[in-house]
C-alpha cells in the first residue's frame, strides 16, 4: 500500500439534500437522447435520420474530426427527432425506446489473444470510446494516441456526489475485467485512487494489476486532474487518459458478454428534492419521470452533474452522457435588500466576512444567484486556496485572456480542466467566468497544437 497523498487546498461545500443509499426503481423513460453538446470539441456527423430503427450499440453519429470515434444508441427503438439549435447545431438525437432492448452482439474473443488494435477497434465500434478522456484538453481521447498512464479516480469529491463504493458494490469481476482491458492500452501503469478517509470497498481493494493510491483531502481531491498532477503530471507532449470507474465496469461487461450495458446508477440530490435517493436507469434517459412528484414546487434548476460543473437541463431534459448525478437547487432570481451588508448567518462563504463561519457543520441550501456584480480581478490569493495544483490559476487565466499561447503552455494549461478550477469560480469575489475562460484557452491550445 502506497502512502497517503494529502491534498490540503480545496473546499467541501456542504449542501443540503445528499442522496440516501437506497435504490428506487425508475420506470423506463419515454425518450432517451445522446447529446453531442456533452462532448467537448466534437463535431457530430449524423449516421441516422428520423424514423430509423436502432439497436443498443447502433451508431447514431461520429466525430467529423475523428471519424473512428462513434456515438451509439443507449436503447433500442426509433429515432424520433433530431433537435437543432442556432446555426443548425445538433443538440439532441432523441430515441423513442422499444419496450425491450435488443442488443448488437460485439463478438468478443479471448482478451489475452487480442491485439491492442483489435481492442481499440472494438471499444470504438461499441460506442464506449467517448468514456475515455485525455489530458491535455480534457476531451475524448484520440484513438491514435498512446498514453503514458491511465488514471481512474475511485471516488467523487464534488458537492452531493454519489458514493462509488455503494454504486459499484458487487461489480468486482467486471471492474477487474475493465482494468485488464485498459492495461492493454498503455505501456505504463493503470492508477486507481481511493479516498483515504474511509475503508476501501471490495470492488477496489481486491483489484489486481493496478497502482493503488490513497488520497485524502477536500474537493477537488477526487478529480482525476488533481490526482494526475500529484502522481504523474502531464508535461508538454505527454498524454494520459482517465476513465470513470462506472465506465470501467461497463467496459468490463462489454468484454465479458459482448453487449453494451448502458445501465447507470445515478443519485438524485439537492435541497429541492423531496426524497433524495439513487436510481438505476439507462444512459441518456429523460429526467421528467424520476423528477415527477419528487421535487419541491417552485422555480428550480435541474442540473445534470454536480452544482459546480454540471449542465443545466430543461424540465424534460435528458441526463448527460458523463453524469451520474442529478442536482436540483432553487433558482436565485430574487433581489436581496442590502444583501452585501447583512450579517449573513445563513449565507455560505469561504471568507469569514459572513457570520455563517460560526456554523461550519451546517448544510446549506444555496441558490443560483450570482450574488454580486462582475468585476475585474481585484482580490488576490483567493483561487490559490481552493486549487491544489502547483499552477498559478490567476496568471494562467490572464494569459488566456490575452491569448498568449506560449505563456499558457508555460503556466501549465496542459494539466488543467474546467472541473479542477470550478471552485475558483465559486469563490471568486469578482464573479469571473473561470470555467468558460479556461475552456476557451484549452480550445485555442488544441487548435494550435493539432
Amino acid at each position: 500500500m502506497s502512502e497517503i497523498i494529502r491534498i490540503k487546498k480545496g473546499l467541501d461545500i456542504k449542501l443540503k439534500g445528499k442522496a440516501d443509499k437506497i435504490y428506487q426503481r425508475a420506470e423506463r423513460a419515454s425518450a432517451y437522447s445522446i447529446k453531442p453538446t456533452d462532448f467537448k470539441g466534437v463535431m457530430p456527423k449524423l449516421v441516422v435520420k428520423v424514423d430509423d430503427e436502432v439497436m443498443v450499440g447502433s451508431t447514431l453519429f461520429f466525430d467529423k474530426y475523428n471519424p473512428s470515434v462513434k456515438f451509439t444508441s443507449p436503447v433500442s427503438g426509433k429515432v424520433s427527432s433530431i433537435n437543432r439549435g442556432e446555426r443548425r447545431r445538433i443538440l439532441e438525437v432523441v430515441i423513442e425506446p422499444d419496450a425491450e432492448d435488443s442488443y448488437i452482439d460485439f463478438k468478443i474473443g479471448d482478451l489475452s489473444k487480442m491485439t491492442r488494435e483489435g481492442i481499440v477497434e472494438l471499444i470504438l465500434e461499441s460506442g464506449m470510446w467517448p468514456s475515455i478522456i485525455q489530458r491535455p484538453y480534457a476531451s475524448i481521447a484520440n484513438p491514435e494516441g498512446k498514453p503514458k498512464a491511465i488514471f481512474i479516480s475511485g471516488f467523487d469529491s464534488s458537492p452531493l456526489a454519489p458514493d462509488y463504493d455503494f454504486m459499484l458494490k458487487e461489480s468486482h469481476a467486471e471492474f477487474q475485467k475493465g482494468i485488464d482491458v485498459l492495461k492493454t492500452l498503455t505501456d505504463g501503469k493503470v492508477h486507481l485512487s481511493v479516498d483515504a478517509s474511509y475503508p476501501t470497498g471490495e470492488t477496489y481493494s481486491k483489484t489486481q494489476n493496478i497502482d493503488l493510491h490513497k488520497i485524502k483531502g477536500p474537493h477537488p481531491a477526487g478529480n482525476p486532474g488533481i490526482q494526475i498532477h500529484h502522481i504523474d503530471p502531464v508535461n508538454k507532449g505527454e498524454l494520459v487518459w482517465y476513465v470513470n470507474p462506472a465506465e470501467v465496469v461497463r467496459m468490463g461487461k462489454l468484454f465479458i458478454d459482448g453487449k453494451v450495458d448502458n445501465t447507470l446508477t445515478i443519485a438524485l440530490a439537492g435541497s429541492e428534492v423531496l426524497k433524495p435517493v439513487y436510481y438505476k436507469l439507462i444512459r441518456g434517459a429523460a429526467v421528467d419521470s424520476i423528477l415527477k412528484d419528487n421535487i419541491v414546487e417552485g422555480n428550480n434548476r435541474i442540473i445534470s452533474g454536480n452544482v459546480l460543473t454540471g449542465t443545466r437541463l430543461a424540465k424534460a431534459g435528458f441526463l448527460g452522457y458523463y453524469d451520474n448525478l442529478l442536482s436540483i437547487i432553487p433558482e436565485g432570481d430574487h433581489f436581496d435588500f442590502i444583501g452585501w451588508a447583512s450579517l449573513g448567518f445563513g449565507k455560505y462563504s469561504v471568507s469569514r466576512t459572513f457570520w455563517s463561519w460560526l456554523t461550519p457543520k451546517k448544510e446549506y441550501k444555496i441558490d443560483t444567484n450570482l450574488k454580486g456584480g462582475v468585476r475585474a480581478f481585484v482580490m488576490s490569493g483567493e483561487y490559490e486556496k481552493v486549487f491544489p495544483m502547483d499552477i498559478m490559476p490567476v496568471q494562467l487565466l490572464k494569459s488566456i485572456l490575452v491569448e498568449d499561447i506560449d505563456q499558457m503552455e508555460k503556466l501549465g494549461i496542459y494539466e488543467v480542466a474546467e472541473e479542477d478550477m470550478a471552485l475558483c469560480e465559486f469563490v471568486c469575489t469578482s464573479k469571473i467566468e473561470v470555467q468558460k475562460i479556461l475552456r476557451e484557452g484549452l480550445d485555442v491550445m488544441k487548435k494550435e497544437t493539432e
Binding site: 508535461n235 508538454k236 433581489f335 454580486g372 462582475v374 490569493g381 470550478a422
Partner: protein
C-alpha cells in the same frame, strides 16, 4: 422593502437604452445594486457562487478602518484642546474632531465617486466599488488641518491619473489613496509636513498657549532629540506611541486602533496577513540594522518604536495590502511586504528630505510589484520545465 423595490422597478425603464435618463444608467445601477443584490443568476460555469462580492469586500475594509477613524477624530480634538490649554470632556473632544474630519471625508467621497460615476458612464461599465475604500483612506492619511480644496484636487488627480487612465479599479499600478497623499506632499509641502500642520488651528496660532509645539515624534527624532514630548512638554513613551494620543495624520497615530482593523482584515481573509507580517518584519530588521550601526540619535531609536511611529502601521495594514497594487503571487507577497517595511525605515531615517518614508516605500514597491510577480511566475515555469527534463 417591497415598496422601494417596486419604485425602483417603476423608474428603471427611464434609465435603460432609449430612456430619457439613459446617460445616468451607471449611476442608477450603482444605487440599485447598493440597495439590492441583483437577481442575476449564474449562466455559465458553476451554478452556485460564494456570497462574497466586491461590495462586501470593500465594505469590510471600510469597517476595519472605523477604529482608526474614531480614534483619529478623538485625537484631533485632544491635540487641539491641548494646544489651546483647555480642558474638555471626552464628548467635546470627540465632537470637535468629528466636525473637523467629517468634511474631509465628504469631500474625498464626493470628488472621487463623482469621477468614478462619470468614467463608468463613459465606459458603459458598472461603477466599481474600489473607491469606497480609497475615499475612506484618504482622510485618514492627511493632517486634520488640510484645506478641503486641496483634498479635492489631490483626490481628482489620484482617481484620474492614478486609476482611471489605466482602466479603473483592478488595473491601477499605484495605490490611489497614496497617490493622493503623494500629490499633496509634493504639490503643497508646507501643508503636509513641518511642525504646525498636524493640529487644527496651529498655523493661525489663535489662542495657542505659549511654547506649544506641534512636532511629531518623527520630526523630533529627525532633529536628533532623544526624549520625545508632546505639545505641552509631557513625555511621549512607548505607550503613547502605541495608544496614539500624539500628533500625526488623522488615522495613523493609533497603532492600537490600526491593529484592531488588521485583526478584522486578517480574520475575514480580506487582506493578506503575509504582507502585513512581512512589512513589520522588514521594518524591524532595517531598524535593527540601523540600531547596530547607529551614528546619530535618530538611528538609535529602538527598532520596535519605529513600528509604532508615523504611518508605518497604517501603511502596513491598509496601504501595502491593497490587492491590486501589491504583489499578487503568494511568494511575491512575502518579498513585496518585506521590502516595503525595509525601505520605509531606510528612507525615514537616512533621507533627511523626508521625515516619513512609508508612503514612498509603498509607492515604490507598487511599481516593483509586477516585477516581483514576474520572477515568482518564472520560478513556477522553471519548475515545470525541470520536471519535464527529469522525466525525459
Amino acid at each position: 422593502m417591497k415598496v422601494l423595490r417596486n419604485y425602483i422597478d417603476k423608474i428603471k425603464p427611464k434609465f435603460e437604452k432609449g430612456g430619457k435618463l439613459h446617460m445616468f444608467l451607471s449611476t442608477f445601477e450603482a444605487f440599485e445594486t447598493f440597495l439590492f443584490v441583483p437577481d442575476t443568476v449564474t449562466k455559465t460555469g458553476s451554478h452556485i457562487r460564494d456570497n462574497m462580492d466586491m461590495k462586501r469586500a470593500m465594505a469590510l475594509v471600510v469597517v476595519a478602518t472605523i477604529p482608526a477613524l474614531l480614534f483619529g477624530m478623538w485625537n484631533t480634538g485632544y491635540q487641539y484642546f491641548l494646544s489651546v490649554g483647555e480642558v474638555a470632556t471626552f464628548w467635546e473632544t470627540f465632537f470637535f474632531g468629528f466636525l473637523k474630519v467629517l468634511p474631509i471625508i465628504v469631500v474625498s467621497y464626493v470628488t472621487g465617486l463623482g469621477i468614478e460615476f462619470i468614467f463608468a458612464q463613459i465606459r458603459g461599465h458598472e461603477v466599481n466599488e474600489g473607491f469606497l475604500v480609497s475615499g475612506m483612506l484618504i482622510p485618514l492619511i492627511v493632517p486634520a488641518d488640510v484645506p478641503l480644496w486641496m483634498v479635492a484636487v489631490a483626490t481628482a488627480f489620484a482617481v484620474v491619473i492614478g486609476k482611471e487612465v489605466f482602466g479603473g479599479t483592478g488595473m491601477n499600478i499605484l495605490n490611489p489613496a497614496l497617490t493622493t497623499r503623494a500629490f499633496l506632499f509634493f504639490a503643497y509641502p508646507t501643508m503636509m509636513s513641518g511642525d504646525k500642520v498636524w493640529i487644527p488651528g496651529l498655523i493661525q496660532g489663535e489662542g495657542v498657549i505659549d511654547g506649544f509645539s506641534g512636532a511629531t515624534v518623527l520630526g523630533q527624532a529627525a532633529q536628533n532629540m532623544t526624549e520625545f514630548t508632546n505639545g505641552i512638554g509631557d513625555k511621549i513613551g512607548a505607550w503613547e506611541m502605541f495608544f496614539g494620543n500624539i500628533p500625526g495624520s488623522i488615522g495613523e497615530t493609533s497603532t492600537l486602533a490600526i491593529l484592531i482593523g488588521a485583526f478584522i482584515l486578517i480574520y475575514t481573509g480580506i487582506a493578506s496577513w503575509k504582507i502585513i507580517f512581512s512589512v513589520f518584519a522588514g521594518g524591524a530588521i532595517m531598524g535593527l540594522l540601523l540600531n547596530t550601526f547607529a551614528v546619530n540619535e535618530f538611528m538609535a531609536v529602538p527598532y520596535w518604536q519605529h513600528l509604532l511611529l508615523g504611518g508605518f502601521a497604517f501603511g502596513a495594514v491598509f496601504m501595502a495590502t491593497d490587492p491590486v497594487s501589491a504583489a499578487q503571487t503568494e511568494k511575491g507577497k512575502w518579498i513585496y511586504g518585506f521590502l516595503v517595511g525595509f525601505l520605509a525605515i531606510l528612507i525615514r531615517v537616512l533621507n533627511p528630505a523626508y521625515p516619513e518614508g512609508v508612503m514612498l516605500a509603498i509607492l515604490l514597491m507598487n511599481v516593483f510589484a509586477p516585477l516581483i510577480d514576474h520572477y515568482v511566475i518564472e520560478g513556477n515555469v522553471r519548475k515545470r520545465l525541470k520536471r519535464m527534463k527529469l522525466t525525459a
